[in-house]
């Protein structure tokens, strides 16, 4: 087996890893402030990909006017739209459940997942529709010295990494971020200091949702857009979150990247295990470090 093959699979794995990282980052941010696991996170990722697809290929047909939302515009508009949906879900549904056991939040978002998934399954093929809107400037391959790699995939990796680390920097090293952390630490006291915690909660949920939407747009040109794309992914991301622990932002990012890499390499060395390797790693982590690699039990 040549080193090229291994490096290629490692990069492809990293490509999956950045999606894991973005999604588990969103889950961790939401969990930190709301203590809720958003099952609909996968559905929001799927929604992001579908809005991009509809904006590019279907809007003209449906509305009968000549309008097309390109990839670059989608990159901005879609996270905002998905974030807006997040605002609605938080304000009108989740907010009423904070007093109850946290599992109700999980169950609610599971119900939302079924609704979104069912809606798109009605109108779109379950096996997937390709997104044709990949910009001309990102087509082709780049020479990385040791191999050729698709430009678009490299672009997706770089953008995701920038977004992940920007989020980390924002939360850990800015004034606004420190307020957010104060809200995580002690919501009542933070509120007493005159900060609008409910607004913070809403915006945080919207931000997490927007992040999932952005990951969806970035994924659309790579994978075919399907109503089930989010559900399959989110369960893996749950395992990633269990492995990394949701105690730290950086932990969520790094475990996402590392596990994507490991999954990619498993495809080279033992392909049948590629879809389960992360779950088995989760078992190992549970056995030897139950709180997760970066975790502190909450």
């Amino acid at each position: 087996m040549s080193i090229q093959v291994i490096l290629a699979q490692a990069l492809l794995g990293l490509n999956v890893g950045v999606f894991y990282a973005m999604l588990s980052l969103g889950l961790a941010v939401i969990f930190g402030l709301l203590n809720i696991i958003n099952f609909a996170h996968g559905a929001m990722y799927m929604l992001g990909a579908f809005i991009a697809l509809i904006g590019y290929s279907f809007l003209e047909k449906w509305l009968g006017v000549s309008i097309q939302i390109g990839f670059w515009a989608s990159l901005v508009i879609v996270p905002l739209l998905v974030g807006l949906l997040g605002v609605l879900i938080e304000r009108f549904l989740l907010r009423r459940l904070y007093e109850l056991d946290h599992i109700y939040g999980l169950l609610l978002t599971f119900g939302i997942t079924l609704i979104l998934q069912g809606l798109f399954s009605n109108y779109f093929n379950v096996s997937g529709t390709p997104y044709p809107g990949q910009p001309e400037s990102l087509s082709g391959v780049v020479n990385l010295g040791f191999m050729y790699f698709p430009t678009y995939r490299l672009f997706a990796i770089v953008v995701s990494l920038i977004v992940c680390f920007a989020t980390w920097f924002f939360i850990e090293h800015t004034k606004l971020g420190s307020r957010l952390r104060a809200g995580v630490e002690n919501p009542d006291l933070t509120q007493a200091f005159g900060l609008n915690v409910p607004l913070m909660v809403t915006l945080t949920f919207a931000f997490g949702a927007g992040l999932a939407g952005l990951a969806g747009v970035l994924a659309a040109p790579i994978y075919s857009v399907s109503p089930l794309m989010g559900a399959d992914l989110i369960i893996v991301v749950f395992a990633v979150v269990v492995i990394g622990g949701m105690g730290s932002i950086m932990g969520a990012i790094l475990s996402g990247l590392a596990l994507g890499l490991i999954e990619g390499l498993t495809k080279v060395f033992y392909p049948p295990a590629a879809s389960t390797v992360i779950f088995f790693l989760m078992v190992l982590v549970l056995l030897f470090r139950p709180a997760g690699l970066f975790g502190k039990e909450k």
């Binding site: 939302i112 997942t113 998934q117």
Partner: protein
């Protein structure tokens, strides 16, 4: 008192159901009802949300199907083999999952169940996406032919009653009381000297085993072990059934399974809209109807008494 009346109603309903409904359909409902009761033991009484119970329901079906089809096991022995398999599997999953609490517990069980799903998809004997087909119904005790649908029906109803009885006894035993104490306040139960982890693990194993019993029976009824039974959506469905019927009530899961089962059956012509409708029911239940059907009824009955 209320429980006794409800039990008589269930018994009469179960015995006479084949007179006015298609037996195979009622058997399907019974399997799901047992599945939901087993799930309710865990969530309703121990406060543990497992998102991976499809692994037991679906996994047992494959094992039962395989041993009856390939090794010529009798149906009863086959069901026992499938159930025994989930006993072991439940022990392993439970051991791993109780290391994490609350929301993590749900995620861990979901991820573990996904391993079973992928194994069911990839292993050579399971038939992949087509599932394991052509499972024989065989003969009970060597002389009662289960291919006759009424005989099969009363066999399934007996299994359901046995499973239901075990769950009823578990809930109303000292063990069940401790489980509820753990659900209400885990640290207090711990400080009272109860080995909380052992109670949780045992509850998990009982629940998993009975979920397996339901799945194993379903495989014999339909002569088919389906991949969808091991899918996470089935785990979600059993949660919905329990929630609709009434979490933490003895008869709630039965009512919920019948309601959701009948609804999915009636709506099956609408394709993917069923999912949208089930999702909406999920949201409505969580938002405004958390007691479920039986829970609400019991509340009304108790209010009248006061």
């Amino acid at each position: 008192m209320t429980n006794r009346i409800l039990f008589m109603l269930m018994l009469i309903g179960g015995l006479t159901a084949p007179l006015f409904a298609y037996p195979v359909f009622v058997m399907d409902l019974l399997c799901f009802a047992l599945f939901a009761c087993a799930f309710n033991l865990l969530l309703g009484y121990a406060g543990l949300l497992s998102f991976g119970h499809a692994a037991f329901f679906g996994g047992a079906a494959y094992i039962t199907g395989y041993v009856t089809k390939e090794w010529g096991f009798s149906p009863l022995l086959g069901i026992l083999a499938g159930t025994g398999f989930t006993l072991v599997l439940g022990g392993i999953f439970g051991f791993l999952a109780i290391r994490r609490q609350g929301i993590y517990f749900a995620m861990v069980t979901l991820a573990l169940a996904q391993i079973v799903y992928f194994l069911a998809l990839q292993m050579p004997f399971t038939g992949g996406e087509n599932g394991l087909q052509g499972i024989p119904r065989g003969e009970l005790f060597g002389f009662i032919d289960l291919n006759h649908s009424l005989t099969m029906y009363y066999f399934v109803f007996t299994i359901f009653l046995i499973g239901f009885g075990i769950i009823y006894r578990t809930i109303h035993s000292p063990f069940g009381e401790v489980l509820q104490a753990i659900r209400e306040n885990e640290s207090r139960a711990l400080s009272l000297g109860y080995d909380v982890e052992r109670f949780k693990l045992l509850a998990f194993v009982i629940s998993a085993t009975l979920a397996g019993l339901a799945g194993a029976t379903k495989a014999i009824v339909f002569q088919f072990a389906a991949l969808t039974n091991a899918h996470w959506q089935t785990s979600g469905e059993v949660i919905l059934m329990t929630l609709v019927g009434g979490l933490g009530t003895v008869f709630g899961p039965v009512v919920g399974a019948i309601t959701v089962g009948a609804l999915s059956h009636e709506l099956s012509a609408f394709g993917s809209w069923v999912q949208v409708i089930l999702g909406t029911i999920f949201v409505v239940c969580v938002m405004v109807f958390r007691r479920g059907i039986v829970g609400e009824v019991l509340r009304l009955v108790n209010r009248k008494k006061d």
